[in-house]
Symmetry: C2
C-alpha cells in the first residue's frame, strides 16, 4: 500500500489561485485599494533576507502588496517597538510580519507581543496563542496552522487520535499541540527532556516532527499506518524524521521539501487576505 | 509502603503564616496601606457566594482586605466590563477575582480578558495563559498553579516524567498541561474524545484528574509508584479519581478533601500579596 502524500506545494498553489480571486474582489469593493502585509527585517542575515523576499513574492503573486521595512542590525528594542507601533496605527497595513530571529540586543518577545492582535497574521503573539488555545478567535501561528490546513485538506481524521508532537518551541511545538487538542486529538508533547522518546512515538497515530534536528526521529519508531508530519528542513533536503523507509508503510506523510514548508508562507498570506477582508470588506 | 500524602491544607496554613508576615511588612513600608483583592460576584448562586466569602475570609486571615463587589443577576456584559475597568484603574486594588460562572447573558470570556494582566491574580486571562505557556512572567491560573506549588513543596520530581492530565478546561486542564511542560515533564492531555483512556493512564508517572466527574478515573488504571493529583471535589467527599485502593501502592497522592482544594484559594492570595508587593513595595 502506498502512502498518501500530503502535498503542501500543490495545496499552496491551489490556495494561491483562490486567494488571488479574493484579492481581486477586495480591490473592486474598496475602489482599488490593495491589501498590504508589512514585513520587518532587522539586520543582514542572508537566510532571513531570503525568507522575507519569499514572503513578499508570495504577496505579489496573489495581488497583494508588501511594505518592506528594513532596519539595521544595530536597531534597539525601542526603535523596533516604535516601528511596530507605527505599523499598528497605519490603516493601510493589514498584517505585520516580524522576521525571526532579530539581533541579540533586541527583546524579541516584547517586539512580537507589540504586534496588534488583528494584524498578527503570522500568529506570534502570546495573546494570539492564548486565545487560540482557549478556542477564541485569533490567527494561528503560521507553520502549525499550515499543518492543520494541510491535514484538513486531505481529510485526515484527528478526533480521538493520539498525536505525538516532538518539540515545544513557541512558534511550532506549543501551538501545534494546542491546535491538535482543539481538533479533539489526544496530544502528547515530547521534547529534549523526554525519556523513552521512541516509546512515545511508537504509540502515535499522528507524529509531528518539530525538533529542528536532521532525521532525529527514526523510521523504526513509527508504527504502520501512522500519519507523519515533518516540519523540519535541513541541508541535503531532509527533515526531522527519517522518512525514506516509511513511504510504503505509513498512511500519509508530508514530503521534504514540498510538504509543510510551502504551507507556512501560504498560511501567512491566507491570514493576511483574511485581515484585509475584515478591515476593507 | 505507605504513600506520601500531599497535604494541601497543611501547606496552605504554613503559607498563610508567611503571607501574614509579608503583609505586615508591606503595611509598614507603605505607611499603613493594606493590599486589596477585589472580588466580583454576579447573581445569587449560593455556591459562588460561598466561594467568594471563603476568598474574602482568606484575605482577612493574612491581613489583606477584600473589596466585595456584588452585582445583580440581570447584569449585562457592558456593565460588568465597566466595573472591571473601574477596578483596573483603581490604584488601591491589587488583584481582581471574577467568580466563575457568571449568568448566561454575560460574555464571560470577554469579562475575564478585560482584567488587566498585572491584576489577574486568579490567572484567568487568555493573555496571562499565553504568557505563562511561553515562559513569560504572568500569574498562573489558581488551581493548576496551586498544584504546582504543592508538588514543589513536596519535592516531587517532574523533569522527564510522563504526566497525563485528564481534562482540558480553560482554568484547569490546559494551564496544568502547560505548567507541567514548562517543568520539563512529557505531557499527555486526555479528554472526553480520548480513546483508551485507561491505556494512557497506565503509562503515567503523574496523573492529574481534572474531569469534574466523581471517581471517573479508576484505581486499577494507575500504576504502582505513580504520583496522583486529584483536582475534583464531589458530594460525598470524593474526587475525580478512585483514591481508596491507591493509598498503599502509589508514591504520593493528594487527599480529597485537603489536597488540591486549599491550594486554589491559597494561590489566589499568594499571588495577590505578590501583586501588592509589586505595586506598593
Amino acid at each position: 500500500m502506498s502512502a498518501l502524500v500530503l502535498d503542501g506545494k500543490a495545496l499552496a498553489q491551489k490556495t494561491e489561485e483562490e486567494l488571488s480571486a479574493r484579492v481581486v474582489k477586495l480591490k473592486e469593493k474598496s475602489g482599488g485599494q490593495t491589501p498590504i502585509l508589512a514585513t520587518i527585517l532587522v539586520g543582514d542575515d542572508p537566510a532571513s533576507a531570503t525568507y522575507v523576499k519569499m514572503k513578499g513574492n508570495a504577496c505579489r503573486r496573489i495581488g497583494m502588496d508588501s511594505l518592506q521595512v528594513e532596519l539595521p542590525s544595530s536597531t534597539t528594542t525601542e526603535e523596533l517597538l516604535n516601528k511596530i507601533e507605527e505599523l499598528n496605527e497605519n490603516p493601510n497595513v493589514h498584517g505585520i510580519l516580524l522576521q525571526h530571529p532579530v539581533p541579540e540586543q533586541i527583546d524579541e518577545r516584547a517586539c512580537f507581543d507589540a504586534i496588534r492582535l488583528d494584524k498578527d497574521v503570522d500568529g506570534v503573539t502570546c495573546l494570539g496563542f492564548g486565545r487560540m488555545a482557549m478556542g477564541e478567535e485569533a490567527y494561528g501561528c503560521a507553520t502549525p496552522k499550515g499543518i492543520m490546513r494541510l491535514l484538513e485538506a486531505y481529510e485526515i481524521e484527528l478526533e480521538g487520535k493520539h498525536a505525538v508532537v516532538v518539540g515545544r518551541s513557541p512558534i511550532l511545538g506549543k501551538p501545534m499541540a494546542a491546535m491538535l487538542l482543539n481538533a479533539n486529538a489526544t496530544v502528547t508533547i515530547c521534547h529534549s527532556r523526554t525519556r523513552d522518546l521512541a516509546d512515545h512515538i511508537r504509540r502515535a497515530d499522528i507524529v509531528v516532527g518539530a525538533v529542528g534536528r536532521p532525521e532525529f526521529i527514526k523510521a523504526e519508531w513509527i508504527k504502520d499506518g501512522a500519519v507523519v508530519v515533518d516540519a523540519g528542513y535541513h541541508p541535503g533536503g531532509v527533515g526531522d524524521i527519517e522518512l525514506a523507509p516509511l513511504v510504503d508503510r505509513v498512511a500519509a506523510y508530508t514530503p521534504v521539501p514540498g510538504g509543510v514548508g510551502p504551507m507556512t508562507i501560504n498560511t501567512l498570506i491566507y491570514q493576511s487576505v483574511d485581515s484585509g477582508e475584515r478591515k476593507m470588506g
